[in-house]
Amino acid sequence: MTEKTFMTGFGGQGIISMGQLWVYCAMKEGLKVTFFPFYGAEKRGGIARASVIVSDSEITSPIVTVADSVVIMNQDSVEIGEKVCKEGGIICVNSSLVKKDPARPDARIYHIPCNEIALKLGNVRVANMIMMGALSKVTGAVKLQDLDTILPSYFSSNKRSLIEINIAAVEEGKKVVA
């Protein structure tokens, strides 16, 4: 099993955190992983992309050029996201911000209203975790079963109070696409 995922959005949406947590969990689940981020110099608002690979065998090229699954978190990222997806691949779009579908009739497209669900949970910033939960469910590549042990070391001590809502967000994400 090898799952190559291309994640894209704008800076501040948690693309990099999503990619890092995805591979953290995969590693704990016994898989080999690579994570290669690409982002602009801006703190917020620039492009944010990540090549993320999890596999049960050695990973060769760490650059995702033909993706098994694509995560698109905002409208501006649709163009690059739809190009990188393999024939018949998976595309997960954040339907809260993406109003025009990727032009890929061959792909399995999932619409996840990440921002709306996150707001209902009480913090729009967990939108990325809702997406990650959905990605876990539709790809089956990473179960995300160790988040409760990973998040305490991932968050700095002043953010520990956010662990619960992040785990809840992942569970909500899994439910949306169930």
């Binding site: 992983v33 690579t34 994570f35 290669f36 060769t60 090229s61 650059i63």
Partner: protein, 355 residues
């Protein structure tokens, strides 16, 4: 007990491996894409009571390495391409004085200030000495985070064994990428043996004082020193050459690539094999000494070579030297900070297979 696997950036894994190798002194100056390495050393060297200095320039940093190395301490500096250019004078002096040191180059696109994205345009500089005078440095090229840690750890021992700088030639992708890594056993620098050739401690060690310098104004003596150094180089060529071969046995076309390019080429190899094409990969791990003989033997067996680099073609000159006209050598490269995709490399192999 087996160490647990940790998820780390290449830059941080290099830093942790250096700390664990007993690096006693680190001198750096910030430059993208290796900044996490300097930051890591700032945190972890000082926490252990070791020396960390953010120097006023790259030139200052390499000369501080010279000073620390003269005392026999394990010393390191790191930078990225333009910064490593600035260090070349100091590296030449280290070689002239037969001092061990570890220099990390997390290379970026050039020439000049260039860009901050990954590249392999520093191959010539790394493998041909880089500074003035007759010398080489050992050059190790990791393909990922684990190997970056392993080779950095080993580099300190090699530098001491051969009394010369060891250069780790990584690139911005290896520095920035995260992978799982199992780290080597920590060495406390306190437990490292004092060096008989170093300055200081002459009274305790009951020996005359040592004077460390690269200067010698008497031509015959300087020539003799250089010849002696090259005898050592000949021995290194016998002992140290390292490379990885993947599916070369039945291959018609063999990719030759190092570091990030080798990872991409391996991906291209898998695409090709899935389509029934006989493609292999030869990955030099030591860029100096270069595995000339090993490639020559493959050339004798009738294989063709496709050299894949993130440059306009530098290692290809060594590949051509290696095969000595026995086999065709082709080239595929991207530069400017672009990384070739495995699909591009496969397409090039496919084009060649029709020739």
């Amino acid at each position: 007990m087996a160490e647990e696997i940790r998820l780390m950036k290449g830059n941080e894994a290099i830093g942790e491996a250096a700390v664990r190798a007993g690096c006693r002194a680190y001198f750096g100056y910030p430059i993208t894409p290796q900044n996490e390495l300097t930051a890591y050393m700032a945190r972890h060297m000082l926490a252990r009571g070791r020396t960390f200095i953010q120097a006023e320039s790259e030139v200052a940093a390499i000369n501080m390495v010279y000073g620390a190395a003269s005392t026999g301490a394990r010393a390191m500096t790191s930078s990225s391409s333009p910064g490593v250019s600035l260090k070349q004078e100091g590296i030449s002096y280290l070689c002239g004085a037969d001092l061990p040191a570890v220099v990390i180059n997390v290379a970026r696109a050039g020439p000049g200030l260039g860009g901050i994205s990954p590249a392999q345009g520093d191959y010539f500089q790394a493998t041909r000495g880089g500074g003035h005078g007759d010398y080489y440095t050992i050059v190790l090229a990791p393909k990922g985070v684990q190997e970056a840690a392993d080779l950095t750890y080993e580099a300190f021992g090699l530098a001491e064994k051969w009394r010369m700088p060891v250069l780790i030639l990584a690139d911005g992708l290896i520095g920035q990428m995260m992978e799982g890594v199992v780290l080597p056993e920590p060495i406390d620098p306190v437990n490292l043996q004092r060096k008989s050739w170093a300055v200081g401690h002459s009274v305790e060690m009951a020996r005359p004082y040592n004077h460390i310098s690269s200067i010698n104004l008497i031509p015959d003596e300087l020539e003799a020193m250089n010849r002696k150094r090259f005898e050592r180089y000949a021995q290194i060529k016998k002992e140290l050459i390292r490379y990885e071969e993947i599916e070369v046995e039945d291959a018609d076309i063999v990719f030759v690539a190092y570091g990030t390019s080798a990872r991409v080429s391996h991906g291209a190899l898998q695409i090709a094999r899935a389509k029934g094409m006989k493609v292999g990969l030869f990955r030099p791990i030591t860029l100096w000494p270069f595995p000339y003989e090993q490639l020559y033997r493959l050339a004798e067996r009738g294989k063709r070579f496709l050299c894949v680099e993130m440059s306009m073609g530098q290692m290809i000159e060594d590949v051509r030297l290696a095969v000595s006209g026995k086999a065709p050598v082709y080239f595929y490269g991207r530069c400017g900070g672009n990384i070739p995709s495995q699909e591009e490399v496969f397409a090039e192999a496919l084009r060649l297979s029709g020739k």
